[in-house]
Amino acid sequence: MTTDNQTMPLLRMSGISKSFPGVRALECVNFEVGEAEIHAFLGENGAGKSTLLKILSGAQSQDSGRIFFDGSDTNFASPRAAQMAGIVTIYQEFTLAPDMTIAENVFIGREPGSRLFVSRRALEQQTQALMERIGLDRSPNALVRDLSVAEQQMVEIARAISMKSRLIVMDEPTSALSRTEVQKLFAIIRALKRDGISTIFVTHRLEEVFEICDRYTVLRDGRHVGAGSVSETSIDGIIRMMVGRELGLLVKRQSTYATPDIALAVEELSRRRKNTDASAIELHGVWFNVKKGEILGIAGLVGAGRTETARAIFGADKIDSGRIIVDGTEVQITSPRDAIDYGIGLVPEDRKQQALFLSLAIRTNLSIASHDLISSLGVFINADKEDQLVDEYKSLLNIRMSSPDQIIGNLSGGNQQKVVLARWLALRPKVLIVDEPTRGIDVGAKVEVHNLLFEMAASGIAIIVISSELPEILALSDRIVTMREGRITGEIAGADADQEKLMTLMTLTKDRAA
């Protein structure tokens, strides 16, 4: 190994190995990032990406291997030490304090002001400037708790770019963002590059790699399987490296399972903001329906009210007015329990806050909503039936886990998402609402998830898909409604839709003509 500065890239990790109890997460992995380089770091769910990046940023320690940063042999004892050296990390799972404001979170530990007192005005102004740069349209004083996942992601990005750095590590920064926000992020990353700052970029949306990245590295099963210049490869080539075989890409669906029977209709759904959060999203007379066997896509930018609509239908948030009609009868839904009893399921957008029991076993997480299916005498959990359930979805979704009793917090992000999805698929509801169903899920598994949704539609389940990824909406939906600022702005048949048409509808300011 040479330490000659001439040949030394900005970052070189060599021979990194790391094991967890029962899992070899990384085996002798080499990883290099050059100066002013945007580097795509790719691999399937559970390949070991996040683990390597946590080692780089000092959040975890490797079993063996060395790290050279900026020409010197380093080993960061803590994230703080890595930050001091110029490595700033956006982790896959958010690290924001939910009960503090956006501004406080962005400058946590580095508040502007005198030694003793924080200058609130400077804090707000600086945060405001950052937020404008990344396109986050909120008050700097809004609580992080009230933000959507996409908005939280943007706060993480704002925090990262506000720090002095030489290398920014972004673990799936775009998984919750829609096209417009992704564009803004890319503009920032390019600007950083012009200033000589490198970025490590993890994503499962492979088109993004070709849009912005210079070089790539691919991991498979904890091993380095390839690296090179992005211009010398193709999406297919990368997928082959990631999964070890050819794979169909998302294609527009051919058949439809929609029936004429309306499974769910919402009429004049409205929700006004609470005075505690002046920038929260309102709903204004949202109306649409979805038929049995139909897949309805809801498209919109961040803040359009898609998630709020889903939560309102599911009884997670109170609505001010509006009617919800299931199978032709109007129903009163005041809690998620009610919604589930009427046969409505919701896969929420934020798995960590809204779906996962991080300290509990996979089995508990997977079966919590479907105890009816696996109980004996109505009281006891039947462990055999539960094992079967877990096994079924483990193979169906290719969940990488060692046993049903494994703590879910130890799974990789994508595998956690699969368990959450399985929770609701297992319930076989009449209406299933999926909010960012494939957030953080790798290309292979995404196809599986889509096939599973088709299969559910074929069995007569009405499905509502919310996704910030337009290709996903286009690939899945029979029909698409678009939203903006809490209003439905348009509706289009899936067969007639393309990205441009959707973008036009998504940015309309008027309600759709009735």
Binding site: F20, P21, G22, V23, R24, E44, A59, Q60, S61, R220, D221, G222, V243, G244, R245, F314, A316, S335, P336, R337, A339, I340, L346, P348, Q353, Q354, A355, L356, F357, L358, S359, L360, T364, S367, I368, A369, H371, S375, V379, F380, I381, A383, N398, R400, M401, S402, S403, Q406, G409, R423, G444, A445, E448
Partner: protein
């Protein structure tokens, strides 16, 4: 999907997490060994059953407290509620307050079943009221039960009007003093209750919901769990055990008094926490709690046998609680980082 060699295996427990999981048990055995060497009387079966009998009251409360702490709650009122419930049971057993000191045949009470029911009813009611305050008025459990601690103690003092109620029929006292074979009755009650609680938490739908609510209440709500009902229920369960404990304690002492159970909250919470249940909710077990309760009992007994003053005992218990939580936090952070 792709077939890759499955490198994730089932033997996923390393030495450290094994140690962390069984730490309370290992510590208990070590402690017993030390006492056995220092004080031969410790290992006599008379003494051991004695320890177990002492443990059984706080142990019963600790079972209830495990449910509460699993939901990230706390109940500081257990000692006071126990005193109040015990007095009510005693009054029922004596058929009123006028005969409070008459012993044996003079007592014209209602018999133990009604007395036991009365104690448990008071406990259930106390727990239910506090549960309502916590779930409906949204007052933090710490505050509600701190208030409850004072309210129930006051009620007990008022009810007893300053004096104890003692001398019950033998059939009543049997529940605290009797034996089945060599085993004291309270020990049997305690272990039986622990077994039931274990089954409920490990193998029932309700048990799953308790863990879920403690692990992430918002996620539980969105998965259709009635979070309010679950939280309410754990305080009712706690109340049940306070009532049951009150009955057994009154039977054992053949007396009930208003200052009974003073300071129990510390011992009870300590038992649960030392047994490995997280104060943040969502993880822990009845098995751990039983070990924790016995551990504290053994510790106190050993210290008594070695003539350590009760003041020093209090200091030791306090230090051990802090150490147990520190160890737990350390083990968790290590598991996360490992």
């Amino acid at each position: 999907m792709i077939k890759s060699p499955d490198k994730e295996t089932d033997q996923g427990i390393d030495a450290f997490s094994f140690l962390a999981r069984f730490a309370p048990l290992i510590f208990l055995l070590l402690l017993m060994a030390v006492f056995a060497i220092l004080e031969p009387r410790f290992l006599s079966s008379v003494n051991l059953f004695n320890v177990m009998r002492q443990v059984s009251i706080t142990g019963l409360l600790a079972i209830g407290m495990t449910f509460v702490i699993l939901t990230a709650g706390i109940d500081l009122s257990v000692g006071s509620l126990l005193a109040f419930a015990g007095l009510v049971a005693a009054a029922v057993a004596k058929g009123g307050m006028q005969d409070r000191f008459t012993v044996g045949d003079g007592a014209i009470g209602y018999g133990w079943p009604l007395a036991a029911l009365a104690a448990i009813a008071v406990g259930l009611l106390g727990g239910a009221l506090q549960g309502i305050a916590i779930t409906k008025l949204k007052v933090p459990a710490f505050v509600v039960t701190l208030g409850g601690m004072s309210v129930f103690r006051g009620a007990a003092l008022l009810f007893a009007a300053g004096g104890p109620i003692s001398g019950f029929q033998p059939s009543f006292a049997w529940w605290g003093q009797g034996r089945i074979g060599p085993v004291p009755v309270p020990v049997i009650i305690f272990l039986f209750a622990a077994l039931i609680a274990h089954i409920v938490l490990r193998y029932t739908r309700y048990g799953r919901r308790v863990y879920a609510v403690g692990g992430n209440p918002e996620a539980a709500r969105l998965a259709g769990v009635n979070v309010t009902a679950v939280i309410w229920s754990v305080y009712i369960i706690m109340g049940f055990f306070a009532g049951l404990g009150a009955f057994v304690l009154a039977a054992r002492l053949n007396s009930a008094e208003a200052v009974a159970g003073t300071g129990y909250e510390l011992t009870v919470i300590a038992s649960v926490v030392i047994g490995g249940t997280s104060l943040f909710g969502g993880s822990g077990s009845i098995f751990g709690t039983v070990i924790g309760a016995v551990l504290i009992g053994v510790l106190l007994n050993g210290l008594v046998l070695m003539n350590v003053s009760s003041y020093v005992q209090q200091i030791i218990i306090g230090v051990i609680i802090v150490l147990a939580v520190a160890f737990d936090t350390f083990a968790k952070s290590r598991r996360r980082k490992a």
